[in-house]
Amino acid sequence: MGMLVTSLASGLLLGCAYAGAAVGLSLAMGMARVFNLAHTALGLTCGYLAYFLLTTAGIDPMVAVGLLAPLMFLAGLALWPTLFRPTVRGVADPALSTSILTLGLAIVLENALSKVWTPNPRIMSTPYSNQAITLFGFTVQGSLVVAAVLGLLLVLGLHWFLNRTFIGLAIQAVAQEPDGARLVGIRAELVSMLVFALSVGTAAIGGVGLAMIYSFGPASYFDWLLTVLLIVVVGGAGAILGTLISALGVGLVLGLGGALLPQAWNSLILFGLLLTILLLRPYGLFK
């Protein structure tokens, strides 16, 4: 019984961490029509950079996130006009063309990572990563708590930004009615660029969070991507709080599955769930 409760608690925390990794993709898919298959690959790149900073300069991953997220935001600003705008504009199905583009990007990133850091798996070890922390009577791993707090802060921060600031409201306006938004003077092109950059910036936070929990190799982005896609599809693309809720659900499934079933079953459940939901309700469960 105790083990079950503990795995429930760590499942919820895992869900929060995954919410951080998924929320950016949800934003890009729902508000900028970009189907970014490189989302977790970008996150994983940041995970490797954080690992590099930790092992060479002793910089804590939490500090590294503060450095990497703005950097990735700038990278997003640079990527939009060069690669993404031409693929979104004037294309019959922007989601399909961006998915091919980002699949290419993900392959490039994966192999560049494996070239630089070898394919061997890495583990980020911080003073708190293996420390047992007792929260409300449950004992959980330290790094899991840190990653969960990062993810939760990110999701809540984005929710606040989208609903309480002028730019956030403009983003929602463009997502709902691009032509109408243009009529009232919103520069939809700039807004899409901003959404994409935000999404890439949050990929850094989510990626470092996941890299703190799991041991990771260059191919890890693929498993992360499938989990994150499941979360986004269940939550509905563009729905921030929906993403959080579905991430908590997926976290519970992963946490319980990890405790009760062998490893192979875990991915079977994950793929099977994603397949079923995509076949039955590709636009999300709550829409």
């Binding site: 392959i107 490039v108 590709p282």
Partner: protein, 289 residues
């Protein structure tokens, strides 16, 4: 050369649905693997040589496509792509956990009892045969009623549907045909490697490479995949031998990025150049495809 022929056959068969209809399947390697396992099992349990039974591999893959295909072809855009990818992952996962299929260790196939050179040339001729068959079928589809329906779907599916075309049936037929050809190639490949494991025959790199080649060459016409498969196989082999496998994969990834900017691939570029020349010299205008 055998590998080049294999990729010509694979990307040609992918083009039937992925190119003409614009339904980009990421998971065609599932059909490839099913073909390989079918012929492997037939060899081990019934004793039929895969060089005779490889059409049965195609039949098995086509049957599989017909069974799972119906709900899948009704999805659109990237959702179709992701679901095909998941089908490939799930099939490989099921095979890995089925002891009768050898699990993760796979199945050893005793090689044909003949000298190694003859063995090599045999596979060479069979892959050449498959490349010719796949190219022929794809070229035939391009000018058939099926191809017309597929291209109508690519241009505007709603209009095609409204004009009375049964789009779901057309897409399913294309998927089954494409899967059958892919499965036949897989059936030969498993015997060529003489070792069938989920890692080898459900390798997602094969799945991505085959459609990259089609897209790169230009998948609106049957000439494109041949061009793409030849150029990219040579490039990949050259980079792997001289610099490293990772660099070769990075080059493939970059090609995939590039392809998005030239949706008609190399064939499209060549067309544009020749058409411009014709116009400049007062020739006939090319018919819009």
């Amino acid at each position: 050369m055998t590998v080049i022929f294999m990729y010509i056959a694979l990307s040609e068969s992918w083009t039937i649905l992925g190119g003409y209809a614009g339904y980009v399947s990421f998971g065609h390697v599932a059909f490839f693997g099913i073909g390989a396992y079918t012929t492997a099992l037939l060899l081990l349990h019934v004793g039929v040589n895969p060089l005779f039974s490889f059409p049965l591999g195609g039949v098995a893959a086509a049957l599989f496509a017909a069974v799972v295909g119906y709900p899948i072809v009704r999805l659109q855009g990237p959702y179709f792509s992701i679901v095909t990818l998941l089908v490939a992952l799930l099939t490989s996962l099921v095979v890995k956990n089925t002891p009768a299929l050898g699990g993760t260790t796979g199945l050893w196939l005793p090689l044909p009892d003949m000298p190694i050179e003859l063995n090599r040339t045999t596979f060479y001729w069979f892959m050449l045969f498959m490349a010719l068959v796949a190219t022929g079928v794809t070229a035939w589809v391009e000018n058939s009623k099926l191809g017309l329906g597929l291209m109508a779907i690519r241009q505007n599916e709603a209009v095609a549907e409204a004009a009375g075309a049964n789009t779901t049936y057309i897409k399913l037929a294309a998927l089954v045909l494409s899967a059958g050809l892919t499965g036949m190639v897989g059936g030969i490949y498993g015997y060529l490697r003489s070792y069938v494991t989920p890692e080898i025959v459900f390798d997602l790199n094969i799945g991505v490479t085959l459609f990259l080649m089609a897209l790169f060459g230009g998948c609106r016409r049957w000439q494109g995949p041949v061009l793409g498969a030849v150029i990219l196989s040579v490039l990949g082999e050259f980079l792997t031998l001289n610099i490293g496998e990772e660099i070769a994969r990075i080059a493939y990834g970059l090609c995939l990025v590039l392809v998005v900017f030239f949706p008609d691939g190399l064939v499209g570029i060549i067309d544009k150049i020749t058409v411009n020349r014709k116009v400049a010299f007062g020739g006939k205008h090319a018919v819009e495809r």
